[in-house]
Amino acid sequence: MDRRDFLKNSAALGAALAAPAIITSRAKAADSLKLGCLFSSSGTMANIEGRMNAVVQMAAAELNAKGGVLGKQVEVLVTDPSSDWPLYAQLGRQLLLQDKCSALFGCWTSVSRKSVLPVVEQNNGLLYYPLHFEGEENSKNVVYLNSPPASSVLPALDYLMGPEGGDAKRFYMLGSDYVWPRTINKICKGYWQSKGFSESAWREQYVPLGFSNFQTIVNDIRKFASEPGGQPIIVLTTVGSSIPDFFKEIINQGIGATDIPVLGLDVLEADLEGLDTAPMVGHLNCWAYLQNAVAPANDAFKANWKGFVEKSNLAYSPTTVIDPMVSAYDGVHMWAKAVEKAGMADPDAVRAASAGISFDCPSGYTIKMTGENNYVSRGVFIGSVNDKQAFDILWQSKDTPTPVPFSPYA
């Protein structure tokens, strides 16, 4: 082991261990307000989550076109956590500490939010979370742009249990096995108990993420449906590729919305992309925005998105617009308004300034934040699948019900 070998080895080792230092010196743009994006463009969530980066960039472009925020240009830093939950936390830390982002827009599944939560709380960052979710959380470092169950599940249940929806009496809960479906089902059971239903009125079944062979389960659903006790419905909380797989199986086994209506709580226009929806007509979902919402702001937003996709020739469909995209779009504009009102981009100031901020969302509602919690009050739509791979608006709330972070039925 002569001296030359020693020097060569320690040099190689030093260079290697120093690598992490160099990777953090990303180009520091001129004085600009930076927004960090944490949406996966690879892995299981790529299909629906990837397009969220584009909509945040579109919103930022709109702000910059109007002279930016506080006179500074808004720069969007896009990363790819590739559906790997620890990587969300790691890249979140990178965006906050190294790139000094003023706010983060990110996460789709609850597990990705839960992994970024400690990062924003420890480093006092601000995460704008665009998805409707299970609630039961109110962190001062997260802005919940979409509705908890009280205004994203119960209205649809009321409709289906009412005369209009075929007065459902029995419920088959089928979900992917993770915290959002489990909490939603727990709240539904509490709600049904409060309405006087007994335990025998429902059945609960969970499948692993990415599950695709629903043959045995649909057999089980058909057996459940034909047992006595009144009209059955399916409360579907599966996510990702399990949604089209499930619908393919019930279509093939001849089950339509008139036999057993399906309330798909995570079913979006994007999930219908690969399906012939004629046999699915009548199934329901419940979001804070639907592509067919009738509002001038919606037409403007859809035209903007079509132009943006074609201009930067993205691989996403220019005509499909989904609720989380609109929520993220609203989030960027509400963040900008809060920064203008606060006069600075520091997270504490922005949070304080957010109280009372409102924004006319493409859904046609004026959404607003009250000071009492970090939730945004959103409108409620119940959609019914039509034969053009989109949802007709079956019912929508008169105004934006106040969000209920912690459900009484949990």
Binding site: S41, S42, G43, T44, A46, N47, G50, L160, P163, E164, G165, G166, D177, Q205, Y206, V207, P208, G210, F211, S212, N213, Q215, T216, I217, N219, D220, R222, K223, S226, E227, P228, S241, P244, D245, K248, E249, I251, N252, Q253, G254, A257, T258, D259, P261, A270, E273, G274, L275, D276, G282, A315, Y316, S317, S384, D387, D392, I393, L394
Partner: protein, 540 residues
């Protein structure tokens, strides 16, 4: 049940007055029939459907005309404007009553939303009217199926007329079943027993619930004869139902086994016969599915007529596409690694990563839309709630065909013999003049091609996106190793075994537990019999 009796009385009364001359009501009356269908609360629109059906029953309205109106309501194309009631269609607007072309601007307007209370009545109405308007027509089978589901709300008069149509003779037994449901509450016990007997012949969960509801009704069961008939009917149905349940689980076991076999077969050739561990096998399946998609798109633009048979036409393309990628893989990378199985494992993993991302960048990440050909859509009711879905039947048939082809190629042809020779003893095969290189290439090409064809067979069942291959790879390896490396028949037997076990466990412990238990069983089995079920004889 009350709604039905009231209507029967009203219908009969109306008939008496007009018995002699069935005259078509004039246009104004017809327009009044349709107007309430346009909008308003669903309760009123349901009543309006009833009135329309009554009108047809009494001959006041033509079945075909009423059918067109109901279908327009279902498609939100029936619109009430000041000039009357209109039906919009992609091309133009016609007056719902007189069929004359109407106002152009009504085209944009959309009919009122059809909710879940109104839709069953529309479906039932359209079904029975279709049997009257075009008896024995193409869609009459589906119409009967719809009526069986809606037996309780079907007006008996129309059903009798439909059953009486000579052209509907084939559907007569089914239609009489539907009438039987109505007759269940018939005061005359003889009719009721006949109805019970008829329902017992068509065993299904729905009929059992009907009979069970009846046996709960004290008034009916007081008559011992009826009670006995009820009890006997229920037991007979239950026997058929259990039989149907067994058949259903065997069928789903068979279909899962065929999926496993088709996915694992390519791997059995590549890993089994060539000893090459191909972690990119899932991606070759995905490429086969994408090739099928491209063939479908090409047919759509070039030969739209044939688009329904894209699955059959795409077989050579899927085989060639994946085969080509397989051979490219073999020539560039695998060729250097025949002596180093563990490094092949890492190399093929890298290739699978590469393929997923190449497809992701070119095609994007969204699910591909396959318009499933009509003969693969839906399923048929065999007996007692046992439904055979066509797409899975296609997969089973396809798997059997591919198994037969693979066995023939490997056992009967000289190529098959060469492949087995190279596997048994690579050097010796070389000595006796078999060019190992050429055989490696062809075998690898065949193995990859089989994966491509598996992609084609799986496209009607699974959603196709860049990452679809991932959920086949662990199961495929397990089936190949369990079946005995290098034995095609072993892979088939192992796939069948795993399929059946999986299907029996799943209802008991749920989907996750089923997968876990099956994997653990295989791991334990391999400990005691490392060479697998059908070990290739001879000294290893």
């Amino acid at each position: 049940m009350m709604g039905w009796r009231r209507r029967l009385a009203a219908g009969a009364l109306f008939l008496l007055t007009l018995a002699a001359t069935p005259v078509l009501a004039d246009d104004r009356a017809l327009s009044e029939l349709l107007a309430p269908l346009c909008a308003g609360a669903s309760a009123e629109r349901v009543a309006a459907v009833d009135r329309l059906l009554d009108a047809v029953e009494t001959g006041a309205a033509e079945p075909a005309w009423a059918l067109r109106a109901l279908e327009a309501v279902g498609g939100r194309r029936l619109v009430c404007a000041e000039g009357g009631v209109f039906i919009t269609s992609g091309t133009g607007v016609i007056d719902a009553v007189t069929s004359a072309p109407g106002l152009a601007d009504a085209v944009k307007a959309q009919g009122a939303f059809v909710d879940l209370r109104l839709r069953p009545y529309l479906d039932m109405g359209s079904a029975v009217l279709r049997l009257l308007a075009s008896p024995g027509g193409p869609a009459s089978g589906a119409a009967l199926g719809e009526l069986q589901k809606r037996a309780k709300i079907v007006p008996p008069g129309l059903i009798e007329r439909a059953a009486a149509e000579p052209a509907n003779a084939a559907l007569a037994p089914g239609l009489r079943d539907v009438m039987a449901v109505a007759a269940l509450n018939d005061p005359d016990p003889a009719l009721r027993i006949a109805a019970i007997g008829r329902l017992a012949e068509a065993p299904s969960e729905r009929n059992r619930t009907l009979l069970r509801d009846l046996s709960g009704d004290a008034a009916l069961t007081s008559d011992p004869v009826v009670a006995a008939a009820l009890a006997d009917g229920i037991t007979r149905i239950e026997r058929w139902l259990t039989l149907g349940q067994v058949a259903a689980s065997v069928y789903s076991g068979l279909s899962y086994a065929s999926i496993l076999f088709v996915a694992a077969l390519g791997l059995a050739v590549i890993f089994g016969l060539m000893g090459v561990i191909n972690l990119a096998q899932g991606e070759l399946i995905m490429i086969g599915a994408y090739a099928t998609f491209l063939v479908q798109e090409a047919l759509k633009s070039v030969l739209p007529g044939l688009v329904d048979y894209y699955l059959l036409l795409a077989i050579p393309f899927a085989f060639a596409a994946s085969g080509a990628v397989g051979i490219a893989m073999e020539v560039t990378v695998i060729r250097h690694l025949y002596r180093r199985p563990l490094m092949t494992l890492l190399a093929t993993w890298a290739i699978s990563l590469l393929l997923i991302n190449l497809v992701r960048v070119t095609f994007g990440t969204q699910n591909l839309q396959f318009n499933v050909p009509p003969f693969l859509n839906g399923g048929t009711h065999v007996f007692a709630d046992f439904i055979v879905t066509w797409n899975r039947l296609f997969a089973i048939g396809f798997a059997l065909a591919v198994l037969a082809a693979a066995l023939v190629v490997l056992r009967r042809t000289s190529l098959g013999m060469y492949i087995r020779a190279v596997t048994e003893n690579r050097d010796m095969a070389g000595c006796v003049g078999v060019s190992a290189r050429r055989i490696d290439l062809t075998a690898f090409g065949i193995g990859s091609g089989l994966a491509g064809v598996a992609g084609l067979a799986l496209s009607p069942i699974y959603t196709v996106n860049p990452a679809m291959g991932v959920n086949f790879i662990v199961d495929a390896f397990m089936v190949v190793v369990l079946g005995g490396v290098g034995s095609i028949a072993g892979t088939a037997a192992a796939a069948l075994g795993v399929g059946m076990i999986n299907v029996t466990i799943e209802p008991m412990f749920g989907a996750v537990a089923a997968k876990v238990i099956v994997l653990l069983l295989i791991i334990v089995f391999i400990q005691f019999r490392p060479e697998g079920l059908f070990a290739v004889k001879g000294r290893r």
